[in-house]
Symmetry: D2
Subunit: 433 residues, 4 copies
């Protein structure tokens, strides 16, 4: 038991009227809605990296956080895990997520990295035995170390490809060892800084092969979870290959992996790609590749990945509405890939950022569920496309241009526009949100 | 013979040192480079819409251009065609492009639209007999009329789907009648304003079927040209389905059309999607779907489609370098989808905007060709990936994670980064541009 | 009495639980909060242009709205006014705003424009006698007509300067005649398309003189309202001189007008300039030039002025919080410079868009007032700066570098950072919003 | 003499046709144009921070550069200075620029910082005696250390204000000691992360006082150089107070400092603020506050400060054209606030990035000078405003609205638009660039 969070109580639901800062006002894990416990809908996860491994730096300044576990030894890595599980316990978090580099010190070579990882994974496994918190997903950090500066799977140097493949193997092993429900790949360095030195065709071939091997290994070891790609358009690279959901879909189709791999959609990455978060979720659902979400928020007016905690109920409600419409999560969940601001120095900031975000998500989920149950929005959507329900019109989709032209002429078809009713639907939305 | 361009001479090549405003300084059609005449490399096309149909309006102001052919009669449509061919002749343009709505007045119904189109197409056909200018591509305007406000192929109203299909048939017929080398689809209204009233799955199914019918009709009538989709991320719609090249690729793969349809890439649309123009070209080439380009420029700092004439030789050189690397155009060309600013009121502005743009493209092409011939950039690219040339390393791509991990351990692989040399390559670039 | 809104009832407050679409759920004009009636806090105005003069066009499509009053005659202008006042009555709108070009047909010359304006202003004056709706502000449209394509006050042609000055005179006269509480200037064409043909120094001198004359004329005619500039960074121009609040402040200081002119801040324009709406309000308040707001919303991901109706309570609450902190409006108000989407064809859409927006603003105002009354946010703000309250520290501001350096050395000052508590404040915010 | 640049020759001018990578192709210091040596026009400076203090990190990865001088001792600081002057010598750089934190190790307290600074400044002074390289400007790094996380002059904690003031004093002393021609302030942390905890009025008052003290101290110590503010809109802060040139101008006017302080304009910061670089230069010149430039380039499509070396001759030409129009630099210069990409690991990359950028600037300067000498652009600009040259029209600027209206009526003024000729001017531009 560390004393990092000394004096901070376990967070419990007290309702919206509570005056207490250290309570949930809206997140009530056992409350039933739409046929499930709220906890089982939301499946919150804490991200190890932002909360425990990030020192508070930004491009113009260094470390602001002074954490007793910062450093490179295994002892400190265990202290970090202790604090992490204390936070999971305070928040009663159902899940967490991690990269290898978050939990273990960097070693001198691959073998040491692996030993470090295995040792700390054992330690974490022991901690999980005394905790309600399970593993939503594991992943490999293939972007921070300088060896990855020109890519991991897409590196011009085959040795980096090999190192990366070997590392992913160890991380998949670790994920399975800890009962993870998913394995995630985020290709932060899979992209380029300049086309002048880049061979797009070669790099995408490398990436396709790499992913195929990941899928094969999943089957080989009998991993039951989902393989997820996390799209992001740029940063750190000038251009990243997993730009957005539509791009990842095309990539999966190209390599025949569309039934094997799904997406982990991050709010901030959706924004950077020029999409709304709900667009990316709805698109993934329509393509059958929706997996999980990284819940955070990006500043719309800062062109980098701010990874802030979400604070807007209406925006989050859009996301949960699409998730509920798609049937909710299967293996996925709501991972807070979010970091407190570098000025938020106190342990309380770390706890309360999560508490506030969990409440925002809970409010959003409740609003979305109520609107879906109301049915008004879906009824309007159906009515708008109702013209397609006649056999004659449905047949248009299996006709041909010449036949359709003949029909337009014969029937004197001359379509008249009908109101899209956007503002009325926004008003309906605002009755629930 | 109209007198709109009275006093403006045919533009001829005079070289960089000329003092004459009405000459080409760099575009010399018969000059050979990289084994072809410059004209045959560049395959310039004039866009009918911007030059002859656009009145000069913007969202805060109306018409600024006062053209004698503005109006809705067939007589004025013929005058417009007369002026257009006079401009083609002044520029010695090898190609032009048009939408149905550019060349014919809007009729009261589908039948009248078609009659108007057929009549003016005959007229244009006659004019082409006396002209060197051929048709690069035709297309249907499925976005300006209010009937398309909620989409064409993706409209919730099946009658609009039918109207659109019938219209595309007539436009494909017109394109074939005029010997067009391609047929283009730009889905300006294929997208949505708000997800609240939109069914993504249904609309993409409609769009997939629509495109399949277009491909079928091409084969039915024996059209030899290419079918091209022009990606654009948004504007006029909040979100458009043909977002960018990667998105279109995924869509084609989904409907099994990746060998039937290519892309027409516009500089401004690439920019709006967050990509460089050369990225989109290089990506399309690597995926085997590069078709043609709409050459213009967008203001990087104005978030809408400014469709200006290109003025930057270095930027255009990046584009032509990728086109040359991909082997050059087959059916495609360089279409100036560009409009003079609404303050550029004079006939001279219209001519000289094209002259300047053609010169910019010619300089860019020459620089790109010289750099490609020099070989320095390609040699560096190859050297960067040379590690993959050994059988052992090539084998990594057909290996598996566990075997690779074993090799990393066995060989103690510990990759060291090598310089990407970006600035040196930029210097090399600037020797030629 | 027209029949445009036939069957639409006057909108009345029924409370959040009502099932009726045509009611206010949150806007309750007579409800008291923070010492004033809600109506007197919010001071809603309807914008004549978007609701009655805009045909529904966008850069890729023309008119979608078919309104019986569209056209160029005085009779139609009167019908438009009739419908407008019917809408004001349905909404019980306390205010409206207009440009000259919204209310009168364009004449052949200045004299006819003025006659048309005077006649319709008389007609509107008569209508106001039977209405509760007053004039929040009037303004001159110095951007739509082609004569303004290169600027109004900043035009290279002095005749346009003269025309613009004369027009503003007639619009100020009209505003005073109708009891307007403010006069607004938005310089849509005061800016440039290209620096290549622009003389910044000359144009800003013209603009400064123009504004000084407006202020002089206000005093000459005894107009009691405020003169307001509405900042916008670009669109329609590439660059506009009234870029944002800070830019306007510098301009006012330069011409000695900072005590004579205030700002009308539009949400969408703030966004386009890279600022949050609340930033612009807070900044203007801190500089003593806060006047009024144009309430709408811009799509953060569309780089043009979408002028949508606001739909986000949390965002609007940020704005009203700053307005309340600044003491609320004096002459200003909440003008809906917002337009229904071009697919929203029905009269009901026009009414309900306003109803929804008024409710959003009312919820936002109530949340902001409650948080301000709670005092928690302000107490935290004060505590954060409390170190400055000692005489010794206050004296730093009137010291000099050498003395301060001596003190730092003498006292061994070595400041330690303290948490900024951003997430905790966001949580506090979300208790109220 | 270190061996870091071993084998790299001093760079000499060889002309465009040279095959040698390590030469200037266009930068020929002694070449005369527009009445001055090229070196005296361009006044290039190397930035100490990017080249010698930056480890190559980005938000997703750490150090990539392995430099023998990295570390925290005075001995390493001296080695860093040795290498820096070796690079200055290789490049024959006329100037350099530095922050205190670039050149000295961070000490335990203010006294140690100052001792370290003084010692290394002495060392640098000695090195300058054997070098042609002079100091363009010095500055204080008031943003990297965690003590500045909430601001320097604008910190809520008066002790940070005091620390910052004392530090600026020492940096001004150092700048004067080394014969610096300017002193720069960049307020990276002068701004806010969230309005929720910020008092704008108080912070701007602090900032105004701080700057006034800087000006007073300049006069006190008889520093002959210029005081420069470097605007930037955001990053690292969400909002920064010195947003752009117009904002800084308003701030200077507010505190009566517009004749004491000028601006140092950075290309990348102009871009982030939504402006072109040439706009910011032209605006500053028109307001009488143009000082110096930080020459780099930002990626238009990456929303953060990429600080790349410039590579576009046409873009740089726009900048130098405005600088030449404004009469050229007085105390200012062209500082390369640019960093090699983190993948550019080699010493050669560091040298050649500067060489390429110097050549790009030289080409741009020559093009701009030729165009200015040609006079065509300026003649067109004058002709466009020539209507203002008559006494009658000039009098409009000292008239009043009522008189102007009378004149418009009396003369039947009805202005007709004239072409702005943008494309023709772009063509003219491209004859020279
Ligand atoms: Co993420
Ligand atoms: Co992120
Ligand atoms: Co196009
Ligand atoms: Co375009
Ligand atoms: Co407005
Ligand atoms: Co607006
Ligand atoms: Co800088
Ligand atoms: Co910068």
């Amino acid at each position: 038991m560390t004393d990092f969070f000394k004096g901070i109580p376990q967070i419990r639901f007290e309702g919206a009227e509570s005056d207490n800062e250290f309570v949930f006002r809206h997140y009530n894990p056992d409350e039933m809605l739409a046929g499930k416990r709220m906890e089982d809908h939301l499946r919150f996860a804490v991200a190890y990296w932002h909360s425990f491994a990030w020192p508070g730096g930004d491009p113009f300044g260094g470390q602001t956080f002074e954490r007793p576990w910062f450093g490179d030894s295994m002892a400190l890595a265990r202290m970090k895990a202790d604090v992490a599980f204390e936070m999971f316990d305070i928040l009663q978090a159902p899940f967490f997520c991690f990269h290898d580099a978050d939990v273990r010190p960097e070693g001198a070579d691959f073998a040491e990295n692996t030993r470090n990882l295995e040792e700390i994974v054992d330690y974490i496994g022991t901690k999980m035995e005394g905790s309600k918190t399970r593993l939503l997903w594991g992943t490999a950090n293939l972007f921070s170390n300088r060896r990855f500066m020109s890519g991991a799977a897409t590196n011009p140097d085959p040795e980096v490809f090999a190192w990366s493949a070997a590392t992913v193997k160890t991380c998949m092993d670790a994920t399975q060892r800890l009962g993870g429900e998913n394995y995630v790949l985020w290709g932060g360095r899979e992209g380029y800084e300049t086309l002048l030195n880049t061979d797009l065709a070669r790099e995408s071939e490398q990436m396709g092969r790499f992913l195929s091997m990941v899928v094969d290994y999943k089957h080989k070891i009998g991993f039951k979870g989902a393989i997820l790609i996390e799209p992001k358009p740029q940063e750190p690279s000038k251009h990243q290959y997993d730009y957005d959901v539509a791009t990842v879909y095309g990539f999966l189709k190209r390599f025949g992996l569309e039934n094997e791999v799904k997406v982990n959609i991050e709010q901030g990455h959706a924004i950077l790609a020029g999409h709304s978060f709900e667009h990316e979720i709805a698109l993934a659902a329509s393509l059958g590749i929706f997996g999980s979400i990284d819940m955070n928020r990006n500043d719309y007016q800062s062109g980098w990945d701010t990874d802030q905690f979400p604070d807007s109920v209406p925006e989050m409600a859009r996301a949960y509405y699409e998730i509920l419409r798609a049937g909710g999560y299967t293996t996925g969940g709501t991972n807070f890939d979010a970091k407190i601001r570098r000025q938020s120095l106190d342990p309380e900031d770390l706890i309360l950022a999560h508490v506030g975000a969990m409440d925002v998500c809970a409010r959003a989920l409740k609003a979305a569920a109520a609107l879906l149950e109301d049915g008004g929005l879906e009824a309007n959507r159906q009515a708008r496309y109702a013209g397609w329900d006649t056999p004659e019109n449905r047949a248009l989709l299996s006709s041909d241009l010449a036949s359709i032209e003949a029909r337009v002429r014969a029937e004197g078809i001359n379509p008249q526009p009908r109101s899209g009713r956007q503002e009325r639907l926004e008003n309906l939305w605002n009755r629930f949100v």
